[in-house]
């Protein structure tokens, strides 16, 4: 039987900070691996256009690389810092000409882009083995997870959309994620 090989233990956040300070681009790969879903969600909450949101995320990754050595852990957690950069970059993007033009010409499509994108993903799921796992999630919980983690809905928007009190959003979310954790 092979002998276990112990390796040093360190959190991903700490490792990212070290790589950022050392100007090692592995930091960007790790950030993308662990945080890009939440970062994209934050950007989508501001930018209602998928192509522009993707462009913002790419710019944010480059910006993080450029500003990485100025990150001060005593002022904010790494994740909060990342989310703040996303928010600011997303707001900047909405002031650009491209964004205003896209909102005018494709307002209807943009309004529903998230729902459409998620619908397409659902079709992909049905055609893959993942469908079986995802299918274990009740529809109501799945919608809630999609709204909160992939479509950039705020608590208030979820409350309005599902017609439930604001305070109930958190507890429903907890239940939905508990189900998700049993599956994934």
């Amino acid at each position: 039987m092979p002998q276990p090989v112990p390796l040093l233990s360190i959190s991903v956040e700490d490792q990212i900070v070290r790589y950022l300070r050392a100007k090692n681009d592995r930091a960007i790969e790790l950030i993308f691996e662990h945080y890009s879903i939440a970062m994209m969600n934050k950007i989508r909450s501001v930018v209602k256009n998928e192509a522009i949101a993707e462009d913002v995320l790419q710019k944010v990754l480059v910006k993080i690389w450029e500003k990485g050595d100025t990150y001060d852990a005593s002022k904010a957690g790494l994740y909060t810092w990342l989310i703040r950069i996303c928010k600011n970059a997303a707001i900047d993007a909405t002031r650009g000409k491209d964004y205003l033009r896209s909102m005018k010409s494709e307002s209807v499509d943009n309004f529903v882009f998230n729902g459409e994108a998620i619908h397409q993903k659902s079709v992909q799921e049905r055609n893959s083995g993942v469908w079986e796992s995802v299918g274990q999630l009740p529809d109501s919980q799945r919608s809630l997870i999609d709204m909160a983690y992939f479509q950039g809905y705020t608590q208030k928007e979820i409350s309005h959309e599902l017609n439930i009190p604001l305070g109930t959003v958190k507890t429903r979310m907890r239940k939905a994620i508990s189900t998700l954790r049993r599956i994934f």
């Binding site: 112990p6 390796l7 991903v12 969600n41 989310i83 083995g129 998700l180 994934f184």
Partner: protein, 257 residues
């Protein structure tokens, strides 16, 4: 602090979504820094959402990362070329070296310089040794991170069973080499003469993957080829058993693909 109530409130789920206000998010981070239970819960939520996103095509496209990295690498190489071009050129004016007293002064300066150089040479050697140690440490950390974060590694969370409901661990399996690694999140210290053992459940049979130490390090177990329905951890006598003692099953996790 009442961890249970705080965790049950659902605030951590919203934190992971990125949609809490910055003030609320900072408070969560303060608690997470103080209380490992909260940190672990956040990691578990994030891991689950990330797995769901990757498995259902909801994760951002890898081309976004690749484009950003190309730009970063291009900018870095341009910056390095500019720096090289701007380096000052050293020139020596030979005419000023004509007089004898200059030669004497230069000789004295040279002697002083040799002494100073000797001192700095020792300092440099010491710094180089420290750097070699640091590089070694970075290489070790990098290896570990490659395992934890590599896209070719399947991440399977294991959750506590009835014997120890709060226990948890994560298994990483390299989908190319089939190397198996385990990282304990929380597991009771095994009684003397006992050890935990990881098993793969395939067609109702438990296949041995290996025993592992009770510590928080990432541990490489073995190479395991083949499909399985679930991974399970049991408590066995030191050195491991031929067959799993299912009555002492502590952890279990379903295969994600």
């Amino acid at each position: 602090m009442d961890f249970k109530a705080y965790i049950e409130s659902g605030v951590l789920e919203l934190y992971v979504s990125g949609l809490l206000s910055e003030t609320e998010a900072q408070q969560v981070e303060e608690y997470a820094a103080k209380y490992p239970e909260i940190h672990q819960e956040i990691d578990a939520i994030r891991s689950s959402v990330n797995n769901y996103a990757r498995n259902s095509g909801r994760a951002p496209s890898a081309s976004i990362l690749n484009n950003a990295l190309s730009q970063i690498r291009q900018d870095s190489s341009t910056e390095s070329e500019v720096n090289q071009a701007n380096e000052p050129q050293t020139t020596i004016d030979h005419q000023t070296m004509g007089r004898d007293w200059y030669k004497i002064a230069a000789s004295i300066a040279l002697l002083i310089s040799v002494g100073i150089n000797g001192y700095f040479f020792n300092e440099l050697q010491s710094a180089q040794n420290e750097q070699a140690d640091a590089n070694q440490q970075i290489a070790t950390l990098s290896n570990q991170l490659d395992v934890v974060t590599s896209v070719v590694n399947m991440e399977i969370p294991l959750y506590g069973l009835d014997v120890s409901p709060k226990s948890h661990a994560t298994v990483y399996i390299n989908e190319q080499t089939r190397d198996v690694y385990i990282k304990i999140g929380d597991l009771p210290v095994p009684p003397s003469g006992h050890q935990y053992q990881l098993w793969a459940d395939r067609d109702g049979h438990m296949h041995n993957i290996g025993v592992f130490h009770h510590n928080k390090s990432l541990q490489h177990l073995t190479v395991f080829d083949g499909d399985f329905e679930s991974l399970n951890v049991t408590l066995e006598e030191e050195g491991g058993s031929e067959t799993a003692t299912v009555e002492r099953a502590y952890l279990s996790g379903k295969a994600t693909s």
